[in-house]
């Protein structure tokens, strides 16, 4: 198997893991923050170099150079492919920006050790190619949010019920799949539990309550980092898509489509800023699932592009709200706040990231959303129209939140609320990526297209699946 020139993937996993152990022993929060920042930046550098190295190799999948994992557990489970190559640096960047934009007033409440552990687990999940490995890592990654909820004195019941069901169904489904051996198509016994597990982890309605609960009760940063990398979608790509019968995918698609519209409508009427964001995220992540389920080259490519825009743009929107919370505390969308005058950079960032996530022209999400809609309408001409409705509702929700947060009144403050340098850096980085990806979309789309091709080629031919006849259309 082709190898990268250096063990960059394992380094990207190990740096935050080791740093998590060190930081857990550090008493001073500012020192912990500095260590966390260094470790996460190192991981970001590793994943970026891994991406470039992978592109240079020109192969569909590549492993690490010295295969440290193979020596430890006897199997090399980590690899980089077209799907994960751009995803890993994006996720690393998200962690870096979250740590970077954590203000001094909040560093005592934000657990850097758990964050670094979550980073390590997320990176490991996203480059793991082994089914049981993915399941183990996903199960482990449910732990940090649980402890955070516990430490904050919040009820963990909703989270525990859903995550226990998720892990249990995933283990049961994969066990059944293992017993089936080399059958190309999974049976009912394995497909349904895996599908249900994926639905729970992705927060598809009606099993999405844990997601809003997590956003309301955990710190904003933790909730953001646990949900926005879309590890559940990764599990679907590796556990469900390769062997699931067509009808399973159609159910997944239908439920995701309904969730996308439902969550967009819910985001539009929310009075709590965190619930607003959780529904916005839910709607956008469901669009990713709709694209994955379409199992057509165009639809899948669109889904993967929207995935990238969720990780970058929507996470950026979340980070903006988090920065606002750091200044004004937990607030609601009941009245006009008029914050533009004090934090114009955050206002612009909110608008840019929000509109970017819903596919506004010139931003990273635009072409992805266009491709997704085209692919899905090609597969399901009638219900595909719901996607457009979801996008329209999300746009309304974003603008409503923008007007409520940043306009409508004159906010009086006796202290300076201006953004700090790290925050400004975060805003500029996100803006550059969102606009850069919007103006020059071809490299990202090309990678997504290659990834989509790999995913489709991994699926056995299933006549029951409604495959889109792409060749009939010139463009969309």
């Amino acid at each position: 198997m082709p190898e990268l020139h250096l063990p960059l993937i394992e380094a990207a996993i190990l740096f935050p893991l080791i740093a998590a152990l060190i930081v857990s022993q550090v008493k001073r929060p500012d020192v912990a923050r500095r260590w966390s920042l260094i470790a996460s930046c190192l991981a970001l550098a590793c994943t970026t170099f891994a991406w470039q190295d992978f592109l240079g190799l020109g192969v569909p999948i590549a492993h690490d150079h010295w295969n440290l994992t193979e020596r430890l557990i006897g199997q090399d489970i980590f690899a980089i492919d077209y799907l994960t190559a751009p995803l890993l640096p994006s996720v690393s960047l998200l962690f870096v920006l979250t740590i970077l934009s954590t203000l001094r007033t909040k560093i005592r409440r934000f657990s850097f050790a758990w964050t670094l552990l979550a980073m390590s687990l997320t990176q490991a999940t996203l480059c793991c190619q082994d089914s049981w490995g993915i399941i183990s890592l996903l199960a482990l990654s449910t732990v940090p949010p649980y402890f955070e909820l516990k430490s904050r004195g919040k009820s963990t019941r909703i989270y525990v019920i859903h995550m226990a069901a998720f892990v249990g169904l995933m283990v049961f489904g994969q066990a059944c799949r293992s017993f089936e051996g080399n059958q190309t198509q999974a049976s009912l016994c394995s497909s349904v539990p895996l599908l249900m597990a994926a639905l729970i982890r992705c927060g598809v309605a009606p099993v999405h309550v844990w997601l809003t609960d997590l956003y309301e009760n955990a710190t904003f940063g933790t909730a953001l980092l646990y949900t926005t990398p879309l590890c559940g979608a990764y599990a679907i790509v590796h556990l469900v898509l390769p062997s699931a019968p067509g009808w399973v995918l159609q159910w997944l698609g239908l439920l995701s489509l309904i969730t996308a519209v439902y969550a967009a409508g819910m985001a539009m009427v929310q009075k709590d800023v965190r619930r607003f964001f959780s529904y916005l995220f839910l709607s956008q992540s469901s669009l990713v699932l709709v694209g994955l389920e379409s199992v057509s080259q165009v639809g899948l490519t669109g889904g993967l592009c929207v995935w990238a825009s969720v990780v970058l743009a929507l996470s950026g929107c979340g980070l903006t709200l988090r920065a606002l919370e750091s200044r004004f505390g937990h607030f609601e969308l009941r009245q006009y706040r008029g914050l533009y005058e004090h934090v114009p950079s955050l206002a612009v960032c909110f608008l840019l990231t929000g509109l970017g996530s819903v596919g506004f022209p010139g931003t990273i999400g635009f072409v992805g959303t266009e491709i997704l809609i085209d692919g899905v309408v090609g597969t399901y001409p009638h219900v595909g129209m719901l996607l457009i409705m979801a996008a329209a509702l999300n746009g309304i929700a974003i603008m409503r939140a923008y007007f409520l947060l940043f306009t409508g009144t004159r906010h009086v403050s006796s202290v300076s609320l201006r953004v700090s340098l790290p925050e400004r850096l975060s805003v500029l980085t996100l803006a550059a990526l969102i606009l850069g990806g919007g103006f020059v979309p071809q490299p990202g789309i090309h990678m997504s297209s290659n990834a989509a091709e790999e995913i489709i080629s991994a699926r056995p031919h299933d006549p029951s699946t409604h495959q889109v006849d792409d060749t009939g259309h010139e463009s969309a």
Partner: protein
Amino acid sequence: MTLLEYFTSRLGMTVVAAPAVAVLGLGGLSLVGWPPSERIISRVIQSAVILGLISALAVLGVMLGFGLTHVPVEVGDWVHIPHYHFHIKFLYDRLSVPFVILTFLLCGTVGAFAARYMHREPGFTRFHLCYAIFVLGMVVTSLAGTIETLFMGWELVGLSSALLVAFFHERAAPPRNGLRVWIVYRVSDAALLLAAIAMHHLHGHGDFDELLGANSWPDGVSHLTDWQTLVVGGLLLLAAAGKSALVPFSSWLPRAMEGPTPSSAVFYGALSVHLGAFLLLRFSPLLDASPLLRVAVVSVGLVTAVFAAIAVRVQTDIKSDLSFASLIQVALIVVEIGLGLRYLALVHILGHGCFRTLQFLRAPSLLQDYRTLENALGEKPATRPAGARDWIYRFALERGYLDAILTEYIARPVVRLFEACDRWERAYGRWLSKGGQPPSQPESNSLLED
């Protein structure tokens, strides 16, 4: 590629590139926290508009000189993957060239006016950035050679409109009205996007040359069947109605007057409000293929014209008055399009745009005008038609109840449904968590507040 084609193509690209560079420059500097001075901002906008105008005039000169009526400028595939490509192309023809020249002329004039009008206003940079986005959106929409390109410009115009309606941040009414405008625009955008997708899947093309034949505007021919034309045309009519404030979406137009006068002038007096009519003109070959669609277009236009003519009689502020006066003309333009009088409609757009911009820009000095008029007449002119029946008066005063109807029968049921879902979800969450701290219940709904 001949030298002439090369020259025209470069000129054609400059028309679009000039406002795009202005947007990127102003936006980039504002984002990094170095907003330029008022003078630099004004000069950037003016330079972009002048460069764009000169290039557009040069293209027109080439077209007239060489007898060309159809000059496509290919940018190429923005995105290209197997089975999909996003093609960008600009089209210079008898429809787009006059419209883009009108855009530059009016934007240049209003830009110069705004530089003085907005002097020392705290949001000077914000205003001009939104204004530059608007110019770019208008140019892209006017020159679009594919429906995807048109959609990009269409959305840029919508965003800049909503942000400028909400320009005066310190009061609640502007953002509230800005949100209303945005909601109608999103409906319009969704309809246009649906039409685009429908065209692709029915015909396989988004390129206007492929879709409406290679003949230059207005001699295109639709290749869709009757019912396909009706579906696509219906969606386009919906999109046009939203953008041009035709019935039943007319209520957003007076709300949009919350913005600064320069933006009101160029958006709702001259350019943006005509975009719906422009869209119908661009797809006018579809109207030829479906008599039913033509009837629908004429009906919408007539109803809007009558409604606006009634409503305009009772407006108490000059900008609302002018907005309804604009609406009457836009509705008549739509009627002309429905009747197949395309050149008349185009000339009507050009003339009306210029005239209404002048009226809007003079609106702040209206009191002075009235005093002059009163002095000349010797008595106060009548402002209310004598003998008007009360119910017509109330109908006009309430602007045809369109706002209330849309709110009560469309928006509120949707919002109530989702609010009920929210309550159920919260109750379910409380039941599931058993003892968790329940979040407070929503009290009011700012989406529908007025």
